[in-house]
């Protein structure tokens, strides 16, 4: 029997502090459950909305090999969305409800997917930069305190590393190609660099949830820490490719042993978060349409399953 006089909240925090994973049926504070459902479903939404900007280029991929890779990659995003919805479902959220929240605009997804993919090089940048940023966010989540989320993330991260590599390979091929290809790569980097930096979320000072999430070990690094890590990782890679990061302030800081870099345009960040990005409307519309047009299919499958079950019951 439990002899301590700790409150359930204190016991819970003690388990978190001891790095014991929380599992679905364990007692947890309501706020912890809510925060997780919000974060995991938001993450899942990002995966499935994220299929659209790249899905856009599957039919236009420049070679059969690239077409296969891109299709497999975008399909993986569907899988990731599925793993994550499943993790959120262990907390009592239904996928239908989560989708309804996405479709109504109540739930958010990563703003990066509200930017358009305009050239083939964008497939490179999305893989190399966007997935690169996602991986930085996601690797620590493999150790997040909630078991099903952590396990889903292990699976996601395993698959995600191929995504970044294929993106880098697309960029590298372009950069080793013709002048037009190299320019395509640079133009794409120019468009994607800043939105990618925004993926890490608002500055720590403007991120009210960070502290509690860190305490619950849902989150293990702050937004600014991850953003810095990303810049430190990517600047040398861009140099390797012979591309220039579109930020004049990027400079190695010997003292900090890190790159200095310019300020993100936070007005743009908040505008896109609030739904005013170029593609917000189209992305959501595409999701709603797929879901609505799929309604009769899902219904038919259920109806058929019920008929079959009834027939089996009669036969038995």
């Amino acid at each position: 029997m439990e002899t301590s006089t700790l409150t359930p909240e204190e016991q819970f925090q003690a388990r978190i502090d001891a790095d014991v994973r929380i599992e679905p049926k364990d007692w947890m504070p309501d706020a912890y459950r809510k925060t997780l459902i919000r974060q995991i479903s938001q993450h899942a939404h990002s995966e499935i909305v994220g299929m659209l900007p790249e899905g856009n280029w599957i039919t236009r991929a420049p070679s059969l090999k690239r077409k296969s890779i891109l299709l497999a990659k975008v399909q993986d995003e569907a899988g990731h969305g599925l793993y994550l919805y499943s993790a959120a479902e262990t907390l009592g959220a239904s996928r239908d409800q989560m989708l309804a929240d996405l479709h109504s605009g109540k739930a958010k997804y990563s703003s990066i997917f509200n930017y358009p993919t305009l050239s083939w090089a964008d497939m490179g940048c999305v893989g190399w930069l966007v997935d690169g940023a996602a991986i930085l966010n996601q690797v620590p989540l493999c150790r997040t305190s909630y078991g099903p989320y952590a396990r889903a993330m292990v699976r996601v991260c395993k698959e995600e590393s191929f995504h970044q590599r294929q993106g880098f390979e697309v960029m590298q091929t372009l950069c080793e190609g013709s002048a037009a290809q190299k320019e395509m790569a640079q133009e794409s980097l120019n468009r994607w660099w800043w939105p990618t930096l925004m993926m890490f979320g608002p500055k720590d000072a403007d991120s009210p949830n960070t502290e509690q999430s860190m305490k619950w070990r849902i989150k293990r690094f702050t937004n600014d820490e991850l953003r810095q890590k990303f810049v430190d990782m990517m600047v040398p890679q861009a140099e390797f490719l012979g591309l220039t990061v579109p930020d004049e302030k990027v400079q190695w800081n010997e003292e900090r042993q890190a790159y200095d870099f310019g300020e993100v345009n936070w007005d743009e960040f908040w505008a896109v978060v609030k739904g005013n990005g170029l593609c917000n409307h189209d992305r959501l519309q595409a999701r709603v349409q797929a879901h609505e047009e799929g309604a009769w299919v899902r219904e038919a499958a259920l109806a058929h399953a019920a008929k079959r079950a009834a027939r089996a019951a009669v036969a038995a």
Partner: protein, 95 residues
């Protein structure tokens, strides 16, 4: 949308012959046949498995975490159940 959702299924995969099926996650499917196929399409895209089990999530009965203490702690002091509890003279082989 007010229609009913496809039921939730838990998926277990045998990664290779000789190993146990292991829980890998869950998915939605209208019936068992579809659940197995969906599991194949979702969870074995990278040669992760050679066999699949699915069970509708509602059929899983689980122990209660609140009873974890009386369920599992009593095993903790039965050290004699483990081979390391016993000192075997060095000269004795094959034990």
């Amino acid at each position: 949308m007010n229609q009913q959702e496809w039921p939730l299924w838990e998926v277990f995969i045998r990664s290779k012959q000789g190993l146990d099926h292991k829980h890998v996650g869950s998915l939605h499917a209208a019936d068992a046949v579809m659940a197995v196929q969906n599991a194949r399409d979702v969870y074995t895209r990278r040669l992760e498995g050679v066999s699949i089990w699915v069970v509708e999530s509602k059929h899983i009965h689980a122990s209660n975490p609140d009873e974890a203490a009386e369920f599992f702690d009593p095993a903790a002091d039965k050290v004699y159940r483990h081979p390391t509890f016993y000192d075997v003279p060095d000269s004795i082989k094959h034990m």
